[in-house]
Amino acid sequence: MQRLVNDPKNYVDEMLAGIYKAAPEAVGHAGDDLRCYVSKQVKKGKVALITGGGSGHLPLFLGYVGPGMLDGCGVGGVFQSPSPDQILAITKEVSQGAGVLYIYGNYGGDIMNFGMAKDMADMEDIEVREVIAGEDVLSSPKGHEDKRRGVAGIFYVYKIAGAAADSMLGIDEVERLARKACANVRTVGMALTPCIIPEKGKANFSIEPGKMEIGMGIHGEPGIKVEDLAKADDIVAEMMKPLLEDLPYVKGDEVSVLINGLGATPREELYIVYRKVAEILEGKGIKVFNNYVGEFATSMDMAGMSISLFKLDKELKHYLCMPFETPFLSQKQLKED
């Protein structure tokens, strides 16, 4: 893999320096630490929302910081958790006195480090709550949902919580809605090629040419099966089965669909995927309210994609439709019906 790098050790900090130069009005950092990424447009008095996680997944995680979404993000090294200190510094910077909600994916290092930051914030009388997202259906079976990894579907949790906080709801309501979003989203993913961590320079797992792995995680966590590469429609059909069965999503439901490219899969192919997803949903009598097709949670240069479904009701639809704007993504107010 040929890369555009200087010293790979500076990969994350040079990326951040670039983002700060590109969007100086929108985002900055708390104190001197570039990795304490904060919005410069935090609405006064709102519940503050903070996320964080390893680098290597843009626009996840920091790309969701901005009006209508999140207020801060702890930026770790590639595939490494941010430190408790960094999360605490961000917490102090963006807290508006109305409570702080941490929203992050279900990974051991993040759970420990956000937990420590929360403990320290408690000591300093800042109220912090946590919502841990985990919606990757194939990472742990039904009945053990608490062990599921968080992947692209966390977008919906950010979106709903972000709109709720922007509507000046209190911490209890924002937390409730974030949990409700978690409960209604499911994702299934697949990978075609591994990814290479810049500092390591080689892949730490492999997928043989002509093969694909269904259920692989965004850090190369093993999936449920390795198979011969099939046609796009067959792959989608194979992924939709466990996805639909899990919640389940049934006839008459209304959903938002998110097709996420892992980094090296062209958008063209994501639309080939979306075409089949929409067709399957139509066949099942499930109505697609809206869709997001693009890159939402990548894994460096990994090829592959994930499909997320978000089951809507009137309340979730209301917050989903609200606008947001970040240096990476934006949405205008959508029509609620």
């Binding site: 430190s83 408790p84 200190d85 605490l88 420990m112 480090n113 937990g115 420590m116 403990d119 320290m120 408690d122 000591m123």
Partner: protein
């Protein structure tokens, strides 16, 4: 006797000295059953606890313990470093706002240390971890204080209970960490995390003797 920031600093110094004394033993144990860095992370972690707490201008025991925990986590972001840090933060929360702890408050501080580790690591007693030394130690301390014994007597009982808890891990099968991969090969050997736990109680005993 009252437990103030002075006693807390002495406690950290005693922990640091004991980790230093047992550095090679921890390295050897952890190389056989883990990834080998425990002796290094524990000496580095407690040295940081000593250095940090010595220079921190804090009179609130709880705040000092919690901030020392953060300093340890910064210095050694390994699993055991984070667990020790979580213990200090748990203890710190229990003592927040107090410049000196009476005997009962000290017992709560000690229990909260064990609970802080347990809460973060999600391990239970019998899982062959540091918990198997910390929880019996904290319980023995609490029971002795509740029974009206002196803190030095309570610390002695706690030290003995933590050591017994450590030795009991010889017969336990691992459920956490890399030791899981070694399965039955670990039987007959003490858990290295429990050794760390027993050293912490030995240091508390030295501090309060």
């Amino acid at each position: 006797m009252a437990f103030t920031v002075k006693e807390f600093r002495a406690f950290m110094s005693n922990c640091s000295a004991l980790m230093e004394e047992n550095k090679q033993y921890l390295i050897d144990l952890d190389s056989a059953l883990g990834d080998g860095d425990l002796g290094l992370t524990m000496t580095a972690g407690f040295k940081e606890a000593v250095d940090f707490s010595a220079q921190a201008a804090e009179t609130d025991v709880g705040m000092l313990a919690a901030k020392t925990g953060m300093a340890v986590s910064r210095k050694v972001p390994s699993t055991m470093g984070t667990l020790v840090a979580s213990g200090l933060m748990g203890a710190g929360k229990a003592a927040k706002g107090k410049t000196e702890l009476n005997d009962k408050e000290l017992a709560s501080f000690v229990s909260a240390f064990a609970e802080g580790v347990m809460h973060r690591g999600k391990a239970q007693r019998g899982d062959r971890t540091i918990i198997d030394a910390l929880v019996p130690g904290a319980e023995a301390f609490q029971v002795a204080i509740d029974g009206g014994q002196s803190v030095s007597e309570a610390a002695k009982k706690a030290d003995e209970a933590a050591a017994a808890g450590r030795d009991a891990t010889k017969d336990m099968k691992p459920k956490f960490g890399r030791a899981v991969y070694y399965g039955d090969q670990v039987l007959g050997k003490v858990d290295q995390g429990a050794v760390v736990g027993s050293l912490i109680f030995k240091a508390l005993h030295q501090t309060l003797a």
